[in-house]
Every structure is written in C-alpha cells, then in structure tokens.
Amino acid sequence: MRRYWINFKGKQSGPHSLEALERMGVDKTAYVWHSGLDDWVKITKVPELNEMLEKLYNGSSAASDANSVENVAPQVMEVSQVTTSPPEPEPAPELSTNEMPNQPGDEARELPPNRLNQYGNATYQVRNHPQYAGGNFAAAQATIAENPECPPTNLVWAIIATICCCMPLGILAIIFASLTKKNYKQGDYRKAEKYSEYSAWSIIFAIMIGLITTPLSCCSNLMLLNLG
C-alpha cells in the first residue's frame, strides 16, 4: 500500500497509510508527498486523497481550488529559507535546504524531498524543521522521533498464540514484538518494519501449526480411548 508524508498546519510527519490520514482529520490545506512524486503537492492533487477528502467533508468542493494552485513547495521550504541561522554549527553545505529539493535524476526516492535522510540524519531534519529552526534542539528531536507511526508489534496476537497455539513460536513472536518497538524507538524504522513482519509471520505459523495439530491430537485421543 502507498505511504504518504504529510505537511499539515506546519507540521510534517509520515509515513502514514491512507486510513491514518483519514483519522488525522486533514483538510485540503495539507501538502503531501509519496514515493514517485518529484516534490510536495497539494493534497487535492493526489486523486485517492482528494477522493478521501470529498468523502470526509460530504462531497464539499475539496477539489475546487485544486486547479488554481500549481505544485507549490510546502511551508517547510518557505519558512526554513526565511529563518535565521540556528545556534548550532551550520549543516554541511551539501545538506543545505535550498539545494535539496528538485534535484534532477533522483527517481524512486523513498523519502520526501526535504527529509531525504530520514533514517540517519535526524540533526539535519530538525535544523530545517519550520518550528524548530533556531532553537530547542532536544525537544525538536524528540518530537520528530515520534512522528512516523510505529509498525504493529502484534503483541496481543503473540500472547494469544503462545497460550492457544504453539508456545515456542509464540515466544519468538513476543521477542520480535519487543525488537520492533526497540528499533522504532531508536529511530531505525526499516528494522522495526522488518521485525514487525517477522512477528506477524511467527504468529501466522503458530496459528497454522495449531490448526493442523489440534485435530490430530483429537484423533490420537480417540485412538487411545479405543485401544484402552
């Protein structure tokens, strides 16, 4: 499924699923970016999101001004160009905001233009963040670390699988759930996603083993009963 980064009311976050955006209650002033787009666009420019907005606001004219607005760089860009230099040492020149967006020839980007290095360089993101360019560095870092959604840990299902289906695989799933959360907290979102998948698969296998072995065990009970 497609994941979206969003810039809404001056706050940037992501990646979100379509449902998550719906729950956030975004309106048509938001900007979005997803993999495959060159730059941030108005939310109404993305067909499926526009459709969602129209559904959300009862078919009100969400798309009415979509045509009048060209692809505009989001607020992040504007603000960070205006703000004075932060108290921290300047970021390396090649990381400067003005040079980041719209570089030719980087197709298939996985991250939005002004947050190119989501997985490594938190410092860079924070310095260019509209709300924090200029100060309160630690708070900004904490806020941004919370922004992407944590992939599901599947903990409940791991516990249920441990009790009901297959204990060893259930325990494995609990361990993977913990690793998901740990890596998410440390900002390694890719690893978190990976462990989230592992825990899901452990649970699926546990349930399958449970489904296969339970009738067998019933059969063996009956056979023992007949023999005895």
């Binding site: 516990i159 204990m167 690793l179 959360k181 009738p215 019933c218």
Partner: protein, 126 residues
C-alpha cells in the same frame, strides 16, 4: 464507524460468544474428545498454555480458584489481553499508559514471565 468495521466486530463477538458457550457446556477435564496439548503429548512436559481449556471452563462457571490452579498464567493474561486489544483497536487507553505497556522492556518482560512460568510449572508440577 464504517460498515466494514462494524461487521468485523460483529463477527468477532459472535465467535467469542459461540466459543464461550462451547467451553461453558463442555468440561475439558472429563471429556476425552477435547484436543490435548501437542507439546505435552510429544514431550511429556507441560507448555505455558496447558490447562487453558480447563481454566476457561472453570472461569465460565465462576470457579476462579480452580481456574488459577489449572493455569495461573492464562487467567492473569486475560485482563492483559483485553487491555492490549483495547489499546490496539480503540482509543480508550490514555497514551501515557500506552507508552508503558508497549515499551519494549515491558514486552520482553512478558516474554521472560512466560518462559519462567513454563519452567516453574514443570519443576513444581503446577
């Protein structure tokens, strides 16, 4: 709430009610047809979930002490599971509580408790 979600919740509730009725009316301790733990059958050692069916039957009949005797961990895990389900699928749990119960130390602690319980019940034949 969307229609899809309502249907989902309805199906889950129906299954739960059917399962509860099933385990209320059948006593796994005396019925030979009930599935037995495969781990126990194969190794002779109890797993962490052994006795859950009997515990559930006792719980549904209101015998909490019996349920605790059959599988303490299962009885204690029920409220835990309810809290986690509410946390995952509703917004009823405050985010401060969420932070604690989904912390990775909490999760790993649950894993350790499961293993300890498993070892303990085999040593002391609980």
């Amino acid at each position: 709430m969307s229609k899809k979600r309502a249907v989902k919740i309805g199906v889950i509730l129906l299954l739960l009610i059917v399962a509860a009725f099933f385990y209320f009316s059948i006593n796994p301790a005396t019925t030979k047809y009930m599935p037995r733990c495969v781990f126990l059958t194969l190794t002779g050692y109890k797993c962490a979930g052994c006795g859950s069916q009997r515990a559930l039957h006792s719980l549904l009949h209101g015998n909490v002490l019996d349920a605790l005797r059959y599988n303490t961990f299962f009885v204690l895990a029920i409220p835990l599971i309810v809290i986690y389900l509410l946390n995952d699928y509703t917004k009823l749990i405050p985010s401060k509580v969420d932070e604690v119960i989904t912390h990775h130390y909490t999760i790993i602690a649950i894993g350790i408790i499961v293993v300890l319980w498993w070892v303990f019940r085999n040593i002391y034949d609980w």
